[in-house]
């Protein structure tokens, strides 16, 4: 039984912390509401504006609802190949013009492809940010793909693919995902399987562009030192005349069959330091309560040096040199993952036992109030830290809009974390973090 005086004191401290946190959370939400504007053009382009005049910079982002999630076998990586090709040629810009324009104006620009979306951004000083709209409107509606420009970029992408091949951890990740997911498209690498990359054609790129790049399948986010009315007028000017065609996206949310028994893979490469990945299928975002419980469990188990697994494996038993992990779910059911760097290959069986024992403990006993409070504090602090950079904020808004259909998910996340109880964490761990639902991947030296 707890000492009543200590107990009351700890309750009081918890109440004070919760009250302070509620005020901060409310401030954060109110601040966000005051800064974000949202509207749509008639052609379906959804636009978000985040106004922050603290620095004279503007980040302009266009995200398309297409990624490796949408690719059929034999075409994996095509969204990424298309992303490369869209930097080449439009009816008004020659190859290299995008980069020359951005560089000459002192901007940063790039594109990237992920499972669920393809994004492009330009960061400029505020007096020249309109250039970004001009570039992105051209990319959205006016790309052309001459045969003569395809092969050199195809070779560049092949070189990028080879970079992956020569990174042992990348290979472990790639093969881990391919074993973990049997049916969900998360099994395919964003950059594509090597043989698919080899077989791309320029016609496939043209077709993919025609199907997926249009205003009704995109989100524009402008963040920084701008006025919403100005963004609206300029968005209309540059994108308003493009034709929007809604794209029906395949929903594979429930596609992954239930796993009945552990899956294991071993990758042998030229490495001196082995790695262990342990994953468990984890609920997606539509399973709201379980999703938030998984997020909290992941943080308590593997996030930071005060996490349970770091303290056990690194500090107490000294059989590992690093531990990281957490719940890795963007939208569809994903993976609860723990990564461990063992001190030696011979310790791997022991490490696997300890990891499972600690996860079993999470499924047997409720976590402490202090552990829950730590996760809440980290999420709230993280909310503010990520708003520090307008580029990060633009990314977050675009991501929420595409994955969840609503940028206000940014506000809903801390609230969801706040509601998780110790019992929900225990129930999640008991239901999901068991050996039959486990995937284990090990990276070993090829000489052993």
């Amino acid at each position: 039984m707890p000492n009543p005086r200590t107990f009351h004191l700890s309750c009081l401290v918890s109440l004070v912390l919760l009250a302070a946190q509620s005020v901060l959370a409310a401030d954060a939400a109110a601040d966000l509401e005051s800064r974000v504007s949202e509207f749509a053009l008639k052609n379906g382009l959804e636009v978000l504006v985040y106004a922050d005049s603290s620095a004279p910079v503007v980040s302009t982002n266009v995200y398309y609802k297409v990624g490796s999630y949408d690719e059929a076998l034999g075409r994996t990586g095509l969204s990424h190949m298309l992303e490369h090709m869209t930097f080449k040629h439009t009816d008004i810009y020659k190859p290299g013009d995008f980069d020359r324009i951005v560089d000459s104006a002192g901007g940063n620009n790039n594109g990237f492809t992920s499972t669920y979306y393809t994004g492009y951004y330009e960061d400029f000083a505020r007096d020249r940010w309109e250039l970004a709209l001009r570039i992105e409107a051209a990319r959205m509606g006016r790309c052309i793909f001459p045969d003569s420009e395809f092969e050199s970029e195809h070779q560049v992408v092949s070189e990028e693919r080879r970079l992956q091949d020569n990174r042992p951890m990348s290979e472990l990740w790639e093969q881990f995902d391919a074993v973990a997911f049997l049916a969900n498209p998360q099994r395919n690498p964003t950059i594509g399987w090597p043989d698919d990359v080899r077989r791309y054609t320029v016609q496939a790129v043209r077709d993919w562009y025609a199907q997926r790049y249009n205003p009704a399948n995109a989100v524009l986010v402008v963040a920084g030192d701008v006025r919403p009315a100005d963004v609206r007028a300029k968005a209309e000017k540059y994108f308003g005349k493009l034709k929007g065609t809604p794209v029906a996206r395949t929903d594979c949310y429930g596609s992954e069959p239930k796993q009945h028994g552990e899956r294991r893979i071993t990758v042998r490469k030229r490495v001196r330091v082995p790695q262990v990945l342990v994953g468990f299928h984890s609920p997606g975002i539509r399973d709201t309560a379980e999703f938030f419980a998984a997020e909290v469990a992941g943080s308590i188990a593997g996030s930071g040096r005060s996490s349970r697994l770091y303290r056990k494996l690194v500090t107490e038993l000294q059989i590992a040199t690093s531990v990281w992990g957490g719940n890795s779910v963007d939208r569809d059911p994903g993976m609860f993952q723990i990564g461990v760097t063992p001190k030696a290959e011979s310790l791997i069986p022991h490490i696997e036992q300890v990891v499972q024992a600690e996860l079993d403990r999470l499924g047997a006993e409720p976590v402490t109030e202090r552990e829950l409070q730590q996760v809440r504090n980290q999420v709230l602090a993280g909310e503010y830290f990520q708003r520090d950079d307008v580029s990060d904020m633009a990314y977050l808004l675009a991501r929420c809009k595409i994955l969840y259909g609503d940028w206000r998910t940014i506000e809903a996340y801390p609230a969801g974390i706040q509601r998780v109880t110790a019992e929900q964490v225990r129930d999640f761990c008991r239901a999901y973090l068991n050996p039959d639902n486990r995937i284990t991947g090990i990276l070993l030296s090829e000489t052993k």
Partner: protein, 445 residues
């Protein structure tokens, strides 16, 4: 040689300097500790770092990694708090506390919500003034560092980088890995860390940078109360020795037949961050290889040749002479190296065009606001400016300084600071000497 501290200077304690127009202030305590405050109240967050002007370049002979390990251990326990207690406290608040080292400096950095600033300053002061260097924490750090050093050898790019730096500096201060290697890390003892701390971590050799929701006057008072009694003493500074240029192209080839791509890095000694040619040299290097898509190397090797995903070149900016690097990863190293050597020689011999220099000026002036728009960017910029003595007005005057760089200065930088034919070159991949077709080079066995 030592870095003197001047008692007379202490008479000017709390004599503030402000960057005109920016909320950036520079104060100093009587013990010589400089405080740089960049007020930014848009979010309730703060970054605070203590920077010691001695880094891995001051590592003892054969004990590479000492500065980095000392920095790590400073965050892992004090006379009154265990390492786990420190971590638990910071992570409970949702913040972070880390120690790191570059060749030039050590940093203890923390990021917290501004309501937790007093706690962060308490931790920073306790870590700086009363570190425990507990044997258990040393063993844990040694394991982590050893694992990290081994993992570098699992990464082709990092392995090439490390070998290139080792060969360029040949035993000089920047020639060893900042975080040590598998030979040096086991040799580092607790007394080495205690000695490094007692020798270099001094108020007259340090400065504090705070960025975020902090009031300058309150912050100076808070730091005065925690660091005011910290005693100064003379601090040795590393010798400024310039590494020699190789007398020809010297190539170290590491053949790994199981790879499908070759990693290449070459270059030679460069100049210091304080060199009056540095700005012109940066513009020249940007034109030559600043962007993998629109620089000369990018256009030749990537855009036209389809030979690589990434190709670039740059000059380090360090307190002592840094290095000039050019890198590429490619399945066709012979063609890529040939094009890179040719482009670099053309830049050396013929220089840049007026249009290229104008474009480079536009890039640097236009992108400068982006480099310090975030708190982390502000902190990095303030650290760089203080470390290299650029002055408090550097941020504001940078665009004018860039605009003042002439075509002639850029071309002089190409002639004076690139030396074609005098490279250290490291090549790692599934290739043999014959595959590369390099003529007149010396192979390093």
């Amino acid at each position: 040689m030592t870095r003197p501290f001047c008692l007379l200077a202490f008479a000017f304690c709390l004599l503030p300097w402000q960057a005109h127009g920016l909320p950036l202030y520079r104060d100093s305590l009587p013990n010589g500790l400089i405080i740089l405050t960049y007020e930014d109240h848009r979010l309730p967050t703060a970054l605070v770092s203590l920077v010691c002007r001695s880094g891995a370049a001051c590592d003892p002979e054969a004990k590479a990694g000492t500065a980095a390990m000392a920095a790590e251990l400073l965050t892992r326990g004090t006379a009154t708090m265990s390492g786990d207690s420190v971590t638990s406290l910071v992570e409970f608040l949702g913040g972070s506390f880390h120690g790191s080292a570059t060749g030039d400096f050590m940093e203890l950095g923390t990021q917290v919500l501004s309501k937790d600033m007093p706690t962060a300053l308490d931790l920073l002061a306790d870590a700086t003034l009363h570190p425990a260097f507990a044997p258990k924490e040393l063993e844990l750090a040694r394991s982590r560092f050893l694992s990290g050093a081994q993992r570098i050898k699992d990464s082709p790019q990092q392995q090439v980088d490390q070998e290139f730096i080792r060969l360029v500096y040949q035993g000089l201060p920047y020639g060893h890995p900042n975080y040590g290697d598998t030979l040096s890390i086991p040799l580092i003892r607790r007394e080495d860390l205690v000695s490094f701390h007692s020798t270099y971590v001094k108020p007259n050799n340090s400065f504090i940078v705070a960025v975020g929701d902090a009031n300058r006057a309150d912050l100076v008072a808070a730091i005065q109360s925690r660091f005011g009694a910290w005693g100064p003493s003379p601090v040795p500074v590393p010798q400024s020795l310039t590494p020699a240029y190789p007398d020809r192209i010297k190539v170290k080839l590491i053949t790994h037949t199981d790879m499908n791509q070759t990693y290449v890095e070459f270059g030679h000694p460069g100049i210091t961050a304080r060199d009056s040619d540095m700005l012109a040299t940066r513009l020249m290097s940007y034109i030559l290889g600043g962007s993998p898509m629109s620089s000369r190397l990018g256009i030749t090797v990537r855009e036209e040749g389809g030979l690589a995903y990434d190709v670039r070149c740059w000059f380090d900016r360090n307190a002592l002479p840094g290095a000039y690097h050019a890198t590429v990863q490619t399945a066709k190293p012979r063609e890529a190296i040939e094009k890179m050597l040719r482009d670099i020689r053309v830049m050396h011999d013929s220089g840049a065009t007026r249009a290229e220099v104008e474009k480079a000026r536009n890039f640097y002036t236009g992108s400068f606001p982006l480099t310090y728009s975030s708190s982390d960017g502000k902190k990095s910029q303030v650290i760089t400016d203080e470390l290299f003595g650029y002055g408090l007005d550097w941020l504001e005057k940078f665009p004018d300084r860039v605009r003042a760089v002439t075509l002639e200065q850029v071309n002089a930088a190409a002639r004076d600071h690139i030396s074609p034919g005098h490279y250290i070159m490291v090549i790692l991949g599934p290739v043999t000497k014959d595959d590369l077709g390099l003529q007149g080079v010396e192979w390093i066995e």
